[in-house]
């Protein structure tokens, strides 16, 4: 089996890494303290082409295949400490651009994609509700037909990008009797009357990624706002998740690579009992395990990307990859703190942030428990 990247892929990945290290730094601690979104970084990413990675050139994008997209996200994760920015980019691309690309009609693509690619507008999706988290398809937001419009009513929570979004893909039920098969997606500009967004919610981590609540009260949208067909909402969501579970978590992989390099450096420099701490097995073994997790996570993510590039579904593989990488990131982040000792616990040294950011990975894109459910179900249990 040939796991090697093409020279072009290798070069592109390296260029993204160099861009991230050069342009996406700044005072991360200050931004995190204020919960400030990295707008300058967002604009720089747009200029580089990040937001256009998966979008065809005819809509202003780079038209890259999913493997290359995944490599770019991995490089961003390694080169940029602002996981909140990367998370916002992910929501924008995998939960807004990709659904429009895969399910939108030509008018929707031409209306939204060029502006999403240019970073002029920020996208996201609104699925989760106070009573519908893991059981996402039990959502209660309704979309009732009224002539050539639909009227949306409901409440969404934990919506990534909501406080800064210009466009939201809102999931609502158009036929409650059909359960998951009665859900439909609507492209709703954030300034639509009847749609309101809360102030940003305070989170444990990803503090520079704005998250909010969305309320829809008699929110009237034209029928042309429907994405795909009526009742196709669950298919749209499932397709999003396959992209998210590979490309979003590629950022985690990159962050783990950065973590590993930091820990190796520290283990060589830090001396205790007259020796570098890296010479003690207790430390060396933790670092070795970090490397193992990175290698295995990379193989799994690459497999998912490869399957999707072949036009194949990857439900099992996406679940495995997401479960493994997200939990590995938490484990490695805990170990990184342990390796750095007291310094790892102090915010000044920017080691502990990874753990706070990593924990969210076990929750979003389907919790670890849901991933295990998916795997078990696909095994016939």
């Amino acid at each position: 089996m040939d796991f090697s990247l093409t020279p072009e892929q290798r070069e592109f990945k390296q260029s993204v890494l160099a861009f991230a290290e050069r342009e996406l730094g700044g005072d991360m601690r200050a931004r995190e303290k204020e919960g400030a979104f990295f707008w300058d970084g967002w604009r720089k990413c747009a200029s580089f082409g990040i937001q256009g990675l998966p979008v065809p050139r005819e809509y202003g994008g780079l038209g890259e295949d999913i493997v290359t997209c995944m490599l770019a996200m991995q490089a961003l994760g390694k080169g940029c400490r602002d996981s909140g920015l990367l998370f916002a980019l992910g929501s924008h691309m995998w939960t807004c651009e990709i659904p429009i690309l895969a399910f939108g009609n030509e008018e929707q693509k031409r209306t939204y994609l060029p502006r999403l690619v240019a970073g002029e507008i920020v996208g996201g999706h609104a699925m989760t509700e106070p009573e519908a988290g893991s059981d996402a398809y039990s959502l209660r937001t309704t979309a009732v037909a009224d002539g050539d419009h639909y009227v949306l009513n409901g409440a969404k929570t934990f919506i990534s990008n909501a406080p800064i979004a210009d466009l939201l893909l809102v999931f609502a039920t158009t036929n409650p009797k059909k359960g998951w098969a009665g859900i439909t997606g609507f492209l709703v500009p954030a300034n639509t009357p009847g749609l309101s967004v809360s102030k940003p919610l305070d989170k444990l981590g990803l503090k520079t990624s704005p998250t909010g609540e969305v309320v829809l009260e008699e929110c009237r949208v034209p029928a042309s706002a429907m994405l795909g067909k009526i009742g196709q909402g669950s298919a749209i969501f499932a397709a999003e998740m396959e992209w998210e579970r590979s490309c979003l978590f590629a950022c985690h992989l990159g962050a783990m690579e950065r973590q590993l390099a930091t820990c190796v450096r520290y283990a060589k420099d830090r001396k205790q009992f007259g020796k570098p701490i890296g010479s003690f097995q207790a430390i060396a073994h933790k670092i070795a395990d970090m490397k193992v997790r990175i290698e295995l996570g990379e193989l799994m993510l690459h497999k998912v990307a490869w399957l999707k590039a072949q036009g194949q579904r990857s439900s099992m593989e996406s679940a495995i990859a997401k479960l493994f990488v997200s939990e590995s990131y938490v484990t490695s982040s805990l170990d990184a703190i342990q390796i750095h000792g007291g310094y790892g616990y102090m915010t000044e040294f920017e080691v502990e942030r990874d753990l706070r950011d990593a924990v969210g990975g076990k929750l979003y894109s389907g919790t670890s428990e849901i991933q295990r459910n998916i795997i078990a179900s696909l095994l016939g249990l």
């Binding site: 895969a102 399910f103 398809y137 009797k177 059909k178 359960g179 998951w180 098969a181 009665g182 795909g228 067909k229 009742g231 196709q232 669950s234 298919a235 499932a238 397709a239 036009g311 194949q312 579904r313 439900s315 099992m316 459910n373 998916i374 179900s377 696909l378 016939g380």
Partner: protein
């Protein structure tokens, strides 16, 4: 493989693996009756891929194609003929 054989194979998979004991007619809505869950449809698509060698695209992953046993059978027959 004939259309009838496809239908029989699909019915057997649904009745054995997805919803044991569930009875349903060929034209009954499997969504409204709850026979086909969101996880069930994922497994069904995997089954279609393995058993009939048909890949279901994102665009084809829609209720119209999976509403009833007749609809699923028609979709698989169509794809195999293409």
């Amino acid at each position: 493989m004939t259309t009838e054989e496809i239908k029989i194979a699909l019915r057997r998979f649904i009745e054995t693996d997805l919803a044991p004991g569930a009875g349903f007619t060929d034209d009954e809505s499997l969504m409204e009756s709850g026979v086909l869950s969101s996880m069930g449809i994922t497994r069904l698509v995997e089954f279609m891929n393995e058993r009939f060698r048909v890949a279901i695209s994102d665009a084809e992953f829609e209720p119209d194609n999976f509403e009833t046993l007749d609809a699923m059978t028609a979709m698989v027959t169509r794809k195999r003929a293409a």
